[in-house]
């Protein structure tokens, strides 16, 4: 017995239901996965802050008006990187691109028609944002890196919208046994347009596959950006995923990693710089489902203005996942009195022979360090920039491509300079 609670549907939820019913017949492939994902959404609705994992990012109140699907548009200028095969996307749609040896790329619709099933990267997790992407994704690509191949790809997403429109791409990458992939994913878009992105990348690592993934968020300053990474790790696979987030107004970056084979390793890192009224939430679920896994998480957040940062990191160690080694750290630097940061590390450990640790810190720049640098002749603003760049630099430092690392460090330095000018 119990009182049954009927949540009132919000206008946004009603609109999404109407849209799905109107569009589903025309959505390309994966009908069953879409229907299942949407059924979960219909049941749960948009999560409010009463849902623990959305406590700091109340999607029910943040997503008021689901925007219409973005139209085709011409490509805008985007980041160019040396040494990477480039795949360009405009408003989520693949514009074609160079091929690379050992790599096949096809439109998502074709891959679905051939039987590719989305969502396998989620392991035992489920999430409403992911479900909405699964249900609505019509654009994107499926990439396969052949066994033993080495590839360097740049997925360059640029949004070219003049009004509030929604963009829902899905990328599914299969990295076969022993293959190695450096995958850069950059996102740029116009300022002053309240566009909505719900984007997802699945990374399926075969045994001994290696992936270094780097995501750059330079979305427009009024954009709502929901980004998702879901990775499964085969035996002895190694994944690193790093995000540098500078853009967007309201962002939630989710990373789900599931260990399927033993002796796999992952490193999940995030560098987030927030100013004005930005809100950025990094949420991780690392699921050690098998023994001998290693995971490392390092998140650094710099918060200025009245911006709000969120870090939620959950490490799950399943009953049989003995000898798991997990370490998680989230450090925040608050540059103004009104800036805020919420840190929520969670360990759910059901095995008894594991090594897991987490640490979270939050504070202002160290006055003594600043004074030391000033006493050596650095003006205060330069001393602050040096300390902030060093703080963020520790997250970017492991990136193997020097050119890319320099590009990212340059963006951090520009961010600090813009702060001084403002």
């Amino acid at each position: 017995m119990g009182a049954s609670v009927v949540m009132m549907r919000t206008p946004a939820e009603t609109a999404l239901i109407e849209r799905f019913n109107a569009e589903k017949a025309g959505l390309p492939g994966a009908a069953e996965a879409r229907a299942e994902a949407f059924a979960r959404f219909e049941k749960s609705g948009l999560p409010s802050k009463r849902v623990e994992s959305y406590h700091y990012t109340d999607l029910r109140s943040l997503l008021r008006n689901p925007a219409p699907v973005a139209a085709d548009a011409v490509a805008a200028k985007t980041l160019k990187l040396k040494g990477f095969r480039r795949l360009g996307f405009t408003n989520g749609r693949w514009q074609g691109g160079e091929s690379a040896p050992g790599v096949s790329v096809k439109p998502l619709a074709d891959a679905y028609a051939e039987g590719l099933v989305p969502g396998l990267g989620m392991g035992q997790s489920s999430d409403v944002v992911v479900d909405l992407n699964t249900a609505f994704a019509r654009d994107g690509v499926a990439i396969e890196v052949e066994a033993g191949a080495e590839a360097r790809l740049h997925l360059a997403f640029s949004e070219n919208v003049a009004s509030a429109q929604s963009i829902t791409p899905r990328v599914i990458v299969t990295i076969r046994e022993g293959a190695s992939l450096v995958l850069v994913q950059s996102h740029e878009g116009p300022n002053a347009v309240a566009y909505q992105v719900n984007e997802m990348v699945e990374l399926r690592l075969g045994s001994q596959a290696k992936v270094e993934h780097i995501r750059l968020n330079q979305s427009g300053d009024k954009a709502m950006v929901l980004s998702n990474i879901a990775a499964t790790l085969g035996e002895e696979a190694e994944l690193s995923t790093t995000q540098l987030a500078l853009g967007g107004e309201t962002c939630r970056h989710q990373v789900f990693v599931t260990y399927q084979g033993e002796n796999a390793k992952s490193a999940i890192r995030g560098a987030t710089l927030l100013k004005g009224e930005q809100h950025h939430d990094s949420t991780l679920v690392v699921d050690h489902a098998v023994p001998h896994g290693e995971s490392r998480e390092l998140f650094r957040t710099v918060v200025d203005g009245t911006a709000q940062g969120v870090f939620q990191g959950k490490i799950i160690v399943r009953p049989h996942a003995q000898k798991t080694d997990g370490q998680m750290a989230s450090n925040a630097l608050l540059l103004s009195d009104e800036a805020g940061m919420s840190n929520k590390p969670e360990l759910e450990i059901f095995a008894d022979d594991v090594l897991c640790a987490h640490g979270a810190t939050c504070g202002a720049l160290d006055e003594n360090q600043l004074f030391y640098l000033q006493a050596r002749g650095l003006p205060k603003q330069q001393a602050e920039a040096l300390l902030v760049e060093a703080f963020i630099g520790e997250v970017l430092e492991p990136i193997s491509d020097e050119g890319l690392r320099d590009v990212l460090a340059g963006l951090v330095s520009e961010w600090m300079q813009a702060r001084v000018v403002a």
Partner: protein
């Protein structure tokens, strides 16, 4: 070179310096000795421009210019240097990067060209070698994981590179073994010349065996209570600070 007149300083409403007068001439090595809590470190921080302190009265003149209204970096540009008693660790900033930023900031303030990367490396390598600093240390984050002796040598390296006209060494001898002490002292002595002045702050006479001061000042309860030649240091070594603590109270 450095002239401090009737300096009164408080922190959180507590008086630390109490009408301190001090003069250090060009080319002179002056030493300040005093018991713990006499305000020695406060004096060095106030001269370098640390914010936490309130100067309620007095002046600090560098070459006749009152520096009290200057920011710390402007004081550094004016030729002032403080070797910290506890050098700060700066994670994520390679020592070399920091040295370059400091040198360039000072060159810029004087309207000079920045050193070319090649010249900069040569200069740093040569100065490091003299101080027995392993070149690998320069790649590590500044002072992170350095031993006490390494940190103090790094302070002297910075002083050698920046060539300040007025250097204050705050308890540079603390935490040093005798070998490190000698290396640090040699680094200071190498820079002694008629155009540079030093103020060596120390609790013990030991450092002054290696850096021979021209003048010695005794500090107690926030004031200079006695000034004279090197013989004062020897007296203190023998008799301790008891009489000065009594006299100042």
């Amino acid at each position: 070179m450095l002239e401090i007149k009737n300096l009164h300083v408080e922190i959180d409403g507590k008086k630390i310096l109490n009408g301190l007068n001090l003069k250090v001439n060009r080319g002179e090595v002056a030493a300040i000795m005093g018991p713990n809590g006499s305000g020695k470190s406060t004096l060095s921080y106030v001269v370098a421009g640390k914010e936490d302190y309130t100067v309620t009265e007095g002046e600090i003149l560098l070459d006749g210019v009152n520096i009290l209204e200057m920011e710390p970096h402007e004081r550094a540009h004016a030729g002032l240097f403080l070797a910290f008693q506890y050098p700060l660790e700066i994670p994520g900033v390679a020592t070399m990067t920091f040295l370059k930023a400091a040198l360039n900031a000072q060159a810029k303030s004087r309207g000079e060209e920045e050193l070319s990367p090649g010249d900069f490396m040569k200069k740093v390598r040569a100065a490091s070698a003299k101080l027995g600093i392993n070149p690998d240390m320069l790649k590590r984050p500044l002072n992170v994981g350095f031993s006490g002796g390494e940190k103090k040598r790094m302070e002297i390296l910075q002083m050698a590179l920046l060539e300040p006209k007025m250097a204050i060494l705050d308890e540079t001898d603390s935490g040093l073994d005798i070998d490190a002490l000698r290396i640090v002292a040699e680094g200071v002595n190498a820079q002694r010349d008629p155009n540079h002045a030093f103020l060596v702050i120390t609790h013990y006479q030991r450092l002054l065996d290696h850096i021979r001061p021209d003048t010695v000042h005794v500090m107690a309860a926030g004031r200079i209570v006695k000034s004279g030649g090197p013989e004062i240091a020897l007296e203190l070594e023998e008799r301790g600070y008891a009489e000065y603590i009594g006299a100042a109270a």
